[in-house]
Amino acid sequence: MSTGVITRGGTVVPPDQIVRYTFRERLCHWINALAYSYALLTGLALFTPHLYWLAAVLGGGPTIRFWHPWISLIFFVSIFWMHALWRGDMVHTERDREWTRNIKYYIQNRDDMVPAQGRFNAGQKQFYWIMFWSAIVLLLTGIIMWIPETLPHSLHWVLPIIIFIHAAVALITIGAIIIHIYMGLWMTPGSLKAMIEGYVSKPWARAHHRLWYDKVTGAKPSSR
């Protein structure tokens, strides 16, 4: 039993564990997650009368009207920061396309039937790009919704279209986030710990991200 290793990033790695996320990556992820959660709850309050009670819980209608755009700005800034951190890891490969074609096996937990994956699997990459492009659309439409009084009356006809797009794209991100939260919290035990403490066990890394495991441990590349 060896003692833990302290990485340059300051993460303390217990024996037989691998650093999965650096402190910077975890910080970025959780700023992003908290800002998104606030924008989600306040956005839902404004989306449907059945959830307008969320406005009362979060400080009242005028309060959420004021903070929704500001907190969302933090979400956008942190997702662009995330882009700088992970852009390289999020590129789709031919192997990812094969993974996507065989996604049903992954869903059925028959992971031996899908190609071995790198640091992020194809599903994580798809989730990332959905969130990234949605964020850009939400930002562009949201800025106009923030200050509609600056829009001349001759351009008012775009407002309903913009609000519709904003709501529709937000709903797409909600669909994606439901799967993301489910997988992180329940479907893949160990991922929440990875995002909080920063490390994963070697078997976990080998089971879920074989190519990445081979790379960081210097092991011989596996066939699958």
Binding site: F47, P160, W186, P203
Partner: protein
Amino acid sequence: MPTESLQIKAISAHPGPPPGQDVSRDYGVCKFIDTTTCIGCKACEVACVEWNGYEFRETTFDNTYQTMPDLEWNYWNLIRFNELENPDGTISWLMRKDQCMHCAEPGCLIACPAEGAIVQYSNGIVDFHQENCIGCQYCLTGCPFNVPKFNQTTKKVYKCTLCSDRVSAGLEPACIKSCPTGCLHFGSKEDMTAMAEARAAQLREHTGYKDAGVYDPEGVGGTHVIYVLHDAKHPERYGGLPADPHVPAFVRLWKGPLKWLGGLSIVGGVLGVFLHYVRFGPKQVDRSEERKP
């Protein structure tokens, strides 16, 4: 609230029917504005500001009678002037009293996300309750007449109330009270429509205004403010009165199908992942591997 005696017909962002709906019958009220006898004196503007207790605004001057460019959060009633040059070289001096039209299908109320910020009374008045307004300005998005105006300081939206406070006390609106030519009338929608139709027929039969007609646009279910225009075929000449106003299609899509489709998808998504867990469970990493070097 000075509105106890007004029955509520619709409430913005209210799930389910509004409390007290249809408990009593009420007749629709209506303002009838005869643009052919308006002289542009602006007495109605003054009466509106006086009754509602707002400050007078600074006027602008651009060589027309339009000394106020637009409605404002504290200026709910505005005569719009247009000096229209006719094909024969004569001038038609058109003037129209502009204010909230009190649509039967109010786009502002449909678009509003804040419960109780906009209410429609069973007499047809559409009223903003600023204490519930959150300043999102979705109402501007739904309004085809560009009526609601935002106040930067209070972050609330304001517009003509059709003097709901006066009407609930059995009085006519302040603008009606002040009109010196009698071009403004107030009464039931039925009576005002009959009066307007009679006036339009009179204009067609006894004057040169062969296109005279009543403006009560069907696209928004009719309005509780109706006009008689000399030229009903060109309402846009009267300070940009829309020829065929509608609640924007995207507001209907967003407040209709997208709302229930979105709600259904969220509930479906949560149920879906729960079912997945019950059926397939978590991805367990083979524990025997942990013993390998």
